[in-house]
């Protein structure tokens, strides 16, 4: 027994060693099985995951295309500047961080306000600028303290600049940061989403918006190897971006400037078109705004000023303002009479100074009337009675049918988005416009004032200029466009936006001649004579004064009535009358008489365009200094 115990114990121990050996083998077997599973069975999956960890595609944003006028004057450009940016999701306390930053970088309350606004509009993981256009010194000061500010960084970015500020602001438009709605739209389209990775700005209005596709360019990509903290370690491959195309406009910047200055502080619009191509030479809407304010996100203060102003500077009156054309409608009415055969040019009426229809008396603006009036004279003296009777004879449907062909009441198709249709009254229009059966009915009496461009008539200045240009081009209608060439920045190749004739209205030369005669007479003997005194070329024109507020009975007295209720002043023209190079429509809101307020503006535009004469005393509007030179903090 005594001897046996150790023996027994030893053999039991050896059994335990064997058990332990089995245990070890099973253990390692399990481990090896797990590694085989990970490294052989699931290899593809984990290899992909490792590559995804390692490789990051960084977008390289292309340079946005530039916009120049027809003579190559640069209207938009890009400059590179340093911005101080914060990624809100990576910062613990935004307020504290901004406070600390402001100790060594000039951060104004307006910068904070703008940042706050951007923050509300953006997603949290975006990096947002707190300050733009840092000076070299500020950059250096931040870099020295960078380690203290995780989530804050300096970025070199290209910024859009509009060197002439307010010049042609409605036509050119502006870019701004992509908002959530635009982002959603971009993300709907896979290709678009890929091309906008890294892009932060998008055209919001004007040409910047409508030619976004051309201006943006193609985003390049850099394949980089990144470490766990997301820092790029080395570049693996690079697809360079293709810069956006430049736009060369039909617009003449100097003409535009002269037109804008001619308005002074008055509200209104001017559209000048090249007849026979549809090229827009000038497109004015006043008051203007400074598109530079929008580029980095507009400050709430600036936005309030622009948005709450009674003058509504953000509205592009040229394409979105609808105004009754007043007497500028008359040449078109006369043309309609000739084309439809309702009246011959020689047919004359005797004008007593009013027209009675049913119980209503429609007054002419000249007490006692113009005597015997034929078509040419009706245009020259702007005889209302002639057109009251003409409208009555033609009837609303014939009028609206003819005016519709001239483009009234429908979009012209100009290359800026958001154009309004205006109102071309007709029986059908009224039926659609009103709900009650009683209101839907068209009354013959309503047709009378349509004849002098009043009543329901409401057209955009662009439509008016467009119709004038069609008349000037002998009835051939071209689609209006502001861009003449799309220029490939890499090859330098220019793609022309071809003038597209959209309709030939088949006007007869003898009819056109009668209208021309009347319109030329306007500026020699008629309502435009004073504005065009001493003119060196032949101008076909027509003044117009449109009622904003209808005065029952009594006579209209300009000075006694609230400025905003005064009549709109209008003027249309084309010149030289025998070989038109330019057609123009002018509208001055509440300007009073067209002859006094609108015609002189047209005169300045025509004088410059046809003769190169600049108006005396006009201050030149210089381009702003290049911000790259000054590093000025706005």
């Amino acid at each position: 027994m005594e001897l046996k115990a150790p023996e027994q114990e030893l053999s039991r121990f050896r059994a335990r060693v064997a058990a332990a050996a089995v245990f070890v083998l099973v253990g390692f077997g399990l481990i090896v099985a797990r590694f085989v599973y990970l490294q052989i069975v699931r290899y593809e999956y984990y290899a992909t995951r490792a590559e995804e960890n390692r490789i990051s595609l960084l977008p390289i944003v292309p340079n946005r295309g530039l916009i120049t006028d027809r003579n190559g004057v640069v209207l938009t450009r890009n400059y590179s500047a340093y911005t101080l940016e914060i990624t809100p999701s990576k910062v613990r306390n935004l307020e504290d961080t901004i406070d600390e930053l402001s100790e060594f970088i000039d951060i104004q309350p307006k910068d904070r306000k703008r940042f706050k606004k951007l923050l509300e509009e953006s997603k949290n993981f975006e990096s947002l600028p707190i300050r733009t256009r840092l000076s070299d010194e500020e950059v250096a000061r931040f870099i020295a303290r960078r380690y203290k500010f995780p989530g804050v960084d300096i970025k070199a970015r290209l910024f859009r600049q509009y060197p002439f500020g307010e010049l042609a602001s409605h036509a050119i438009g502006y870019i701004g940061r992509i908002n959530q709605k635009e982002m959603a739209k971009i993300e709907d389209d896979e290709d678009l989403a890929a091309n906008y990775r890294g892009t932060e700005h998008i055209g919001k209005t004007g040409l910047e918006q409508s030619y976004e596709k051309e201006l943006h360019g193609v985003t390049g990509f850099e394949q980089v190897e990144v470490d766990a903290s997301g820092r790029a370690v080395r570049s693996l491959a690079r697809t360079p971006p293709i810069p956006g195309n430049n736009l060369q406009l039909t617009m003449d910047a100097e003409l535009q400037r002269i037109a804008e200055q001619a308005f002074g502080t008055r509200r209104g619009s001017l559209v000048a078109i090249e007849p026979g191509t549809g090229g827009i030479l000038a497109l004015v809407s006043t008051p203007r705004f400074d598109p530079n304010l929008f580029v980095d996100g507009i400050t709430p203060d600036n936005w309030d000023v622009l948005n709450t102003s009674l003058d509504k500077p953000m509205i592009n009156r040229a394409i979105n303002g609808a105004y009754p054309p007043g007497s500028t409608f008359k040449p078109f009415m006369a043309m309609g009479a000739l084309v439809t055969g309702k009246r011959s040019a020689t047919y004359a009426i005797s004008d007593p100074g009013y027209f009675v229809f049913g119980n209503n008396t429609f007054r002419d603006d000249k007490v006692g009337g113009h005597g015997m009036v034929d078509m040419v004279k009706s245009i020259i003296v702007s005889c209302d009675t002639y057109y009251y009777t003409l409208a009555n004879e033609m009837g609303i449907d014939l009028i609206s049918d003819f005016m519709g062909k001239l483009g009234f009441g429908s979009r012209t198709g100009i290359d800026i988005e958001g154009e309004s249709t205006g109102v071309l009254p007709s029986q059908a229009w009224k039926k659609k416009r009103f709900k009650k059966a009683e209101q839907q009915k068209w009354y013959a009496g309503e047709t009378i004032s349509i004849g002098i461009g009043q009543g329901y008539n409401a057209y955009t200045p662009l439509q008016l200029a467009h119709a004038t240009a069609t008349l000037a081009a002998g009835g051939i209608m071209f689609k209006p466009h502001i861009v003449k060439y799309v220029v490939d920045t890499q090859s330098g190749q220019r793609r022309m936006i071809e003038p597209t004739p959209v309709a030939d209205l088949g006007f007869k030369p003898e009819h056109l001649e009668i209208i021309r005669k009347g319109m030329v007479g306007v500026n020699i003997y008629g309502t435009g004579a004073r504005a065009f005194a001493g003119v060196k070329y032949e101008v076909a024109g027509k003044t117009g004064t449109a009622q904003v507020f209808s005065l029952k009975g009594g006579k209209y007295k300009e000075g006694e009535i609230n400025e905003r209720l005064r009549d709109h002043a209008l003027y249309i023209a084309y010149a030289p009358a025998n070989d038109p190079k330019i057609a123009v429509a002018v509208l001055v809101e509440n300007g009073g008489f067209g002859a006094a307020a609108a015609a002189p503006i047209a005169r300045q535009v025509l004088d410059y365009y046809l003769l190169g004469i600049k108006p005396a005393g006009a201050a030149p509007e210089d381009a702003e200094a290049d911000p790259e030179d000054s590093h000025a903090h706005d």
């Binding site: 114990e9 335990r16 050996a21 481990i31 090896v32 590694f35 995951r49």
Partner: protein, 379 residues
């Protein structure tokens, strides 16, 4: 003037070499050579410190190997008592770092007494069973378990789950080799397996944030929960497991090549020179590298068990057996951790991971095995 003859040199070299078991030495050096290669890739800047550690550890190994096992026997009780006292000291006066109280500041040096227990525990238990040899009763197993549970509890409380597991493993294997009844082992093992399965099955319920686990810290619960589903915390605690698994899986059969591991070199892999060094091996040398390391460990363990088998007395047998199994526990827990089947408990890969303390402890273990083998052959 005494002349130094060739024989003298031979005798001198023999004195140095004699305590060393060539088999164990070769395996140890082979593992260390692998480490050298991997360290050169994962963390070349620590190479100098690592080589110093290696020299110190091999010296310790040689010193211990040269001692007869009887001397180790004398150390058992004092070492154990000292260890427990220090652990109590840590619990009362220890320094807190990273939410755990592990260090004791002795003014001259800061020590981590739990490390001492890794060796003191098997020594103590082997000594105890040796004393009770021939008259072993159930009561003795209860005493042994008490001797085991007290320090393990103190270490787990610090909290240091990794070391607690290693000490528990070391102690358990002594009791196991001493002949703990299978009737106790099998049910306990079954309950353990059922428990783990239950935890996995009811993962979402027990991992809900409001649920408190008795006896475990929140961070320990978190570790286990992220192991069960690393995606619940991909940037926090789950990051280690996810990135380590990606490193392992993307290595494939032959790996991406030495110094070409992207997970390793782009910092996706955390703790790449310490606890997760196996992920570096897996990524750069693939399954082949893992198999080589596993085979080396198996050989080491086989040799250790062989030494235990041939040891002269119960103390030596139990000590050799349990010391050998320490290597297994280390390797198994670390490999399981790296491949995402065990929680991240901070156990290094034996003799590969950077870190002086663990390396010295492990080489001391090798030294003990060599010493025991030596005593057997001398008889």
């Amino acid at each position: 003037m005494p002349t130094i003859s060739l024989t003298d040199i031979r005798l001198f070299l023999l004195r140095i070499v004699r305590p060393l078991d060539p088999f164990l030495l070769i395996i140890t050096l082979a593992i260390m050579a692998c480490t050298y290669l991997v360290m050169l890739s994962a963390s070349p800047e620590r190479m100098g410190a690592h080589l110093t550690n290696v020299v110190v550890a091999l010296t310790v190994m040689w010193i211990v190997a040269a001692q007869p096992p009887q001397r180790l026997n004398n150390f058992a009780l004092p070492l154990y008592v000292l260890g427990v006292l220090l652990l109590i000291g840590v619990a009362l006066f220890g320094d807190v770092s990273k939410g755990a109280r592990r260090w004791l500041d002795l003014k001259v040096m800061r020590i981590q007494p739990s490390e001492l227990m890794k060796i003191a525990m098997p020594l103590m238990l082997a000594w105890y069973f040796q004393k009770r040899e021939g008259s072993l009763k159930v009561r003795d197993f209860l005493v042994a378990m008490l001797l085991l549970v007290v320090p393990v509890g103190l270490i787990a409380k610090q909290p240091d789950l990794g070391t607690a597991i290693l000490v528990l493993g070391a102690g358990f294997f002594v009791i196991f080799f001493a002949g703990l009844s299978w009737k106790l082992i099998i049910p306990t093992g079954l309950i353990g397996i059922i428990g783990i399965v239950a935890v996995i099955a009811y993962q979402s319920e027990i991992c809900a944030p409001q649920v408190k686990w008795p006896g475990l810290h929140d961070y320990q619960k978190h570790r286990i929960c992220t192991l069960l589903d690393p995606s619940t915390d991909p940037l926090g605690k789950g990051f280690h497991t996810i990135q380590s698994t990606i490193a392992v899986g993307s290595g494939g059969f032959l790996g991406k090549g030495w110094r070409n591991g992207t997970q390793t070199h782009l910092d996706f892999l955390p703790e790449r020179h310490t606890d997760f060094i196996l992920a570096v091996i897996s990524e750069e040398f693939g399954l082949a590298g893992v198999l080589i390391i596993s085979i080396l460990y198996c050989l080491l363990i086989a040799r250790g068990l062989m030494i235990a088998n041939n040891a002269s007395n119960l103390f030596a047998r139990l000590l050799a057996g349990s010391v050998t199994m320490i290597f297994f526990t280390y390797a198994f827990v670390n490999m399981g951790m790296v491949s995402g089947i065990l929680p991240v408990v901070g156990v290094p890969l034996p003799m590969v991971s950077y870190g002086g303390t663990a390396l010295v402890t492990l080489c001391l273990g090798i030294g003990i095995l060599m010493s025991i083998r030596q005593s057997r052959r001398r008889r």
